[in-house]
Amino acid sequence: MKTGSVAALLSLALLVVAPLRAQEPEVAAPHAATVERVDIITPHITDGNHIELPWVLPPFFIEYALPTWKPIHIGALVLDLSPTKHVVMLLFGALALTVVMLLTARAHRRASAAGAAPTGGTNAIEAMILYIRDEVILPNVGHHGEGFVPYLMTAFFFILTLNLLGLVPFGSTATGNISVTATMAIMTFLTVEIAGVRANGLGYLNTIFYWDTKQPLFMRIVLFLIMSPVELIGKFTKPFALAIRLFANMTAGHIVVLAFVGMIFTFSAVENPAVRVVAMGLPAIMAVAIMMLELLVAFLQAFIFTLLSAVFIGQMRASHH
């Protein structure tokens, strides 16, 4: 009865994994008799209309159902404005970021009133702000790029906060949702195109309709017919890549972490104690390592989004055909 034993082991393993829906690896597994397959990864990386809040009693979380509102119909568009898990994370992230930054600003005002530099965490945040402004935004956006600092700076810290909140227990990664990243990318797209119109005036049309006056007329027409669609597609692939890059990076990292965490519980079914320690220990170590990597990725992806946005704005403002 080999297949039988495998099936039993599998069901046991999945049973053990079942309570992990709460993203809480330390939750003790109740040995229920029901055999059920539970997906722990999809609920974690997707949106939902309930949130989990920490609680002192086992199973150490309470599920809170978010209210559902009636969808609003605007023409053919159905807009469901009910707050979801990711909306809550967005709000929480926005509040946390605002509070931290306002405290930083206050510390700065106090420090500069005393004629000194701020210390500690305030100084660290200042270093980040200055790095983003002086090394990422201003060199890439080009001359007189100060007007783009607020958008790009906010984008960086907003994405960074949401990325980091995804790594916190009970948190969820709003930047692992394509709707959020696509919206951010659309805002960058609009910023880029508006910057193009403002910097180039009518010359902005040259960034869509390729008309190279250095070429002879025939070649000009041929190039126009070939290059114009390419230019137009290029305009949309950039924000598309921004959206997909951020979404895929955040989602992939969480899937990997969850897979390793799942393995720990799966291997708790191994009978040989020595093998079990190794089989459970290795994924645990790997999960920790991937979490460390995710910390780096959280900063890296926020940085890349900001850097590429700045580069796109700079390219657009500097485009003179």
Binding site: V6, L9, L10, A13, L14, V38, D39, I41, T42, P43, I45, T46, D47, P71, L79, D80, L81, S82, P83, T84, L91, L97, T98, M101, L102, A105, H108, R109, A111, S112, A117, E126, I129, L130, R133, V149, P150, Y151, M153, T154, A155, F157, F158, A174, N177, I178, S179, V180, A182, T183, M184, T251, A259, M263, T266, F267, A269, E271, N272, V275
Partner: protein, 189 residues
């Protein structure tokens, strides 16, 4: 150990797909959710406005102010250093001037002393000469006086002697004039 591999494969491969079917509708990660997009725009723009007004501008202003005060301090330090160098040069020049003046005074003093000594020596020599001259003249006059005295004494002695010799008859003014005439011829010799 035998059971490890199948468990792993079974867990990783069909589990999640099957589970999401259990959960209900198949999950498509790329499905856009317009409500969430709306909330993202709203929240992001709110954050942007708040942070722009109350965080980025104050922080960057503070940094700018600090940078300005730093550059000011550096400029002030440079100015101070320049003025210090100028003062030092001035003082050096003043010291140099004082030294040359002192040198000049010393030289002048030495020259004055030299000339004074020469003058005094000259004066002393002149006085000495004068004194010598006066002494010589006195000696000369004394000598003349002595000679006159001696001569008168000699005349008296000669007269006394002659008187003794020729007695009283020769004692008259004519004789005396004769002898004196003779003696005058002796004086001219």
């Amino acid at each position: 150990m035998r059971s490890l591999l199948p468990v792993l494969v079974a867990f990783l491969a069909p589990a999640s797909a099957a589970a999401s079917e259990v959960a209900g509708a198949k999950v498509n990660l790329l499905d856009p959710h317009y409500g969430l997009m709306f909330w993202t725009i709203l929240i992001f723009i709110a954050v942007l406005l708040v942070l722009n007004k109350y965080a980025w501008n104050p922080i960057l202003d503070a940094v700018r102010g600090r940078e300005k005060s730093l550059t000011d301090a550096i400029a002030a330090a440079a100015a101070d250093r320049d003025s210090a160098a100028r003062l030092l040069a001035e003082h050096r020049a003043a010291i140099e001037a004082a030294r040359t003046e002192a040198q000049r005074y010393i030289a002048e003093g030495r020259a004055t002393a030299e000339s004074m000594r020469g003058e005094m020596l000259e004066q002393t020599r002149l006085q000495q000469g004068e004194i010598l001259e006066r002494a010589r003249k006195e000696i000369e006059s004394e000598k003349v006086k002595a000679i006159d005295e001696l001569r008168r004494e000699a005349v008296d002695l000669a007269l006394a002697g002659a008187g003794k010799l020729i007695g009283q008859r020769l004692d008259g003014p004519a004789d005396r004039g004769l002898v004196e005439q003779y003696l005058a011829t002796l004086g001219t010799k």
